[in-house]
């Protein structure tokens, strides 16, 4: 398999705390790859390390076979890799209109034809042009997350890093956003790396996933293995039980 993104023996430490401990993953082009684990397991740190937002102390990351500088990412990298964050309330500038929010990546990358692209991006995420001159506080959580997705998509990246894109949303809105993400992935043949603590969401969206615990990958499996219960680690089994909802007898 030729991986489009791969992390090799990646280590991230904050002082003497190891947030990522020798982690390796390979993601194939066009694949949707999931990272699962509880809080503090390092799944978000791994995603941020790939995006260049975490201080990598050791190991390397390759994109399309070429190793990346661990400290500095150039514009070409961000043209190819974009990220959507967990909290749509925190990731949009409160004093910029949707129009300006979407202009910014185009201006940074010197993309011409802004007018048409903004309209198309809004259309693609299911918000009409009537949303173009609104501020983020005039939008609901689901609409904000759509804007965040539009902002990532507008410069036509190949890889999207999704950090819990729906965990701040209501169940009904979550379904809409997940459908949107699947739709654009199909249309544009994107590669996704998606972090979530919800096994239901990850198995729905991803073909393969890695289960993380305490900064290490404890298990790698395919979604169909997970659904069929072919698990080797107790930790994954616990996550499975937890995802099935509250059962009176099991609890305490």
């Amino acid at each position: 398999m030729t991986a489009i993104v791969s992390a090799e023996n990646l280590t991230v430490s904050f002082d003497d705390f190891l947030a990522l401990d020798n982690v390796s993953i390979d993601v194939a082009p066009g694949e949707s790859f999931g990272l699962v684990g509880e809080s503090g397991s390092g799944k978000s740190t791994l995603l941020r390390a790939i995006a260049g937002l975490s201080p990598v102390t050791d190991g390397r990351i390759t994109l399309d076979g070429k190793p990346l500088d661990v400290k500095y990412r150039d514009k070409a990298f961000y043209r190819q890799v974009q990220m959507v964050f967990q909290d749509p309330y925190g990731s949009l500038h409160p004093r910029q209109t949707v129009d300006r929010l979407l202009q910014e990546p185009l201006a940074i990358h010197g993309v011409a034809d802004a007018e048409r692209r903004i309209l198309r991006a809004l259309d693609e995420v299911g918000l009409g042009s009537s949303f173009r001159f609104r501020y983020s506080h005039q939008l609901s959580g689901g609409q904000r997350q759509r804007i965040a997705i539009a902002r990532a998509l507008i410069i036509e990246p190949q890889i999207m890093l999704l950090d819990e894109p729906t965990s701040a949303l209501d169940a009904s809105v979550q379904a809409e956003v997940l459908n949107l993400l699947e739709q654009v992935r199909r249309d544009r043949k994107l590669t996704y790396i998606m972090v979530s603590h919800d096994l239901g969401v990850v198995t729905h969206m991803c073909e393969r996933l890695a289960v993380m615990k305490n900064g290490k990958v404890v298990e790698r499996l395919s979604s169909s293995d997970l659904v069929a219960g072919r698990l080797s680690e107790d930790y994954t089994k616990n996550l499975m039980v937890a995802s099935k909802g509250f059962v009176r007898d099991v609890a305490v």
Partner: protein, 277 residues
């Protein structure tokens, strides 16, 4: 089963610059010593219903009801002093996020003791012993150590347990839990729910469990009320969830991706205008 709380035609509205926003529009239900779930999307009025029962509706909001009655006390006309005495001792509320709802500059133990000593006259020593016993009851190991910690020094799950301890220490008869586990990890979520479930059944409390997760609520509660746009659209026994009639309830049930079902795209809610009427 005796009725503890009666809510009849409760309405909460907020005057704003652009007109009156009606958050709760005529909600009626009764509660005995049972677990009642209130489910709905954001903005459906479920939290405002809980807050109205607690008496935490903001002062500028308008609140009215034919009846809002807790154990013979009319909550709407009760003087502030009576409501203060009720709040915390007989009716308690657990909030969503322990990060924001615990006092960051007070140790956990002091916050629990504060609740207890507000409502009962007990000596410092006894208050401390009871707080530690309560922390143990919510399955915090090494409760004496946690007693002296500040909220930032404990994890989210531990903070939420400390909040449950704080709310239960005065022995309330009615507990309103507003999304008590939404901010927690899935694995921790179940532990916290298990603790809550055990304490509620041991102490014979009434519980109102507010959440947007219909499946979670139905696995936890005896009865579920489904709210949409400030109104109750359906009320059903939790075991009867499969037979939900209202399309909104069915939509909420179906839109969650679950293990082992392969549905692409996921069914989404097709909101009908007449649901909100």
């Amino acid at each position: 089963m005796s009725t503890m709380l009666t809510v009849d035609d409760l309405r909460v509205s907020f005057p704003t610059r652009t007109g009156l926003i009606e958050a709760v529009r005529g909600v009626s239900f009764t509660l005995g010593r049972e677990r009642l779930g209130i489910v709905g999307e954001s903005g459906s009025g479920k939290s405002q219903t809980g807050r109205a029962i607690m008496g935490l509706t903001p002062a500028h909001a308008k609140i009215s009801a034919n009846k809002l009655n807790f154990d013979g006390i009319d909550l709407l006309t009760a003087p502030a002093k009576t409501r203060r005495a009720l709040r915390g001792s007989r009716i308690a509320m657990i909030l969503q996020d322990p990060k924001y709802s615990l006092n960051p500059v007070m140790s956990i133990g002091r916050q629990i003791v504060e609740t207890l000593r507000t409502h009962e006259s007990v000596s410092r020593r006894e208050a401390r012993d009871r707080a530690i016993a309560m922390l143990e009851a919510v399955q915090i190991r090494d409760a004496a150590r946690v007693f002296d910690l500040h909220p930032h020094e404990v994890s989210g799950g531990m903070g939420q347990r400390a909040m449950i301890a704080m709310m239960l220490i005065a022995g309330p008869e009615l507990l309103v839990a507003d999304e008590p586990t939404s901010a927690l990890d899935v694995t921790v979520q179940l532990e916290v729910l298990g603790i809550l479930d055990k304490l509620v059944s041991e102490r014979g409390m009434g519980l109102i469990f507010i959440s947007h997760d219909l499946r979670l609520v139905s696995s936890f509660c005896d009865r579920v009320i489904v709210m949409y746009a400030g109104k109750i659209v359906e009320e059903l026994a939790a075991s009867d969830l499969g037979n939900a009639k209202h399309p909104y309830t069915q939509g909420l049930l179906n839109c969650m991706p679950t293990l082992g079902t392969n549905r692409h795209p996921l069914p989404v809610l097709d909101r009908q205008l007449e649901w909100a009427l």
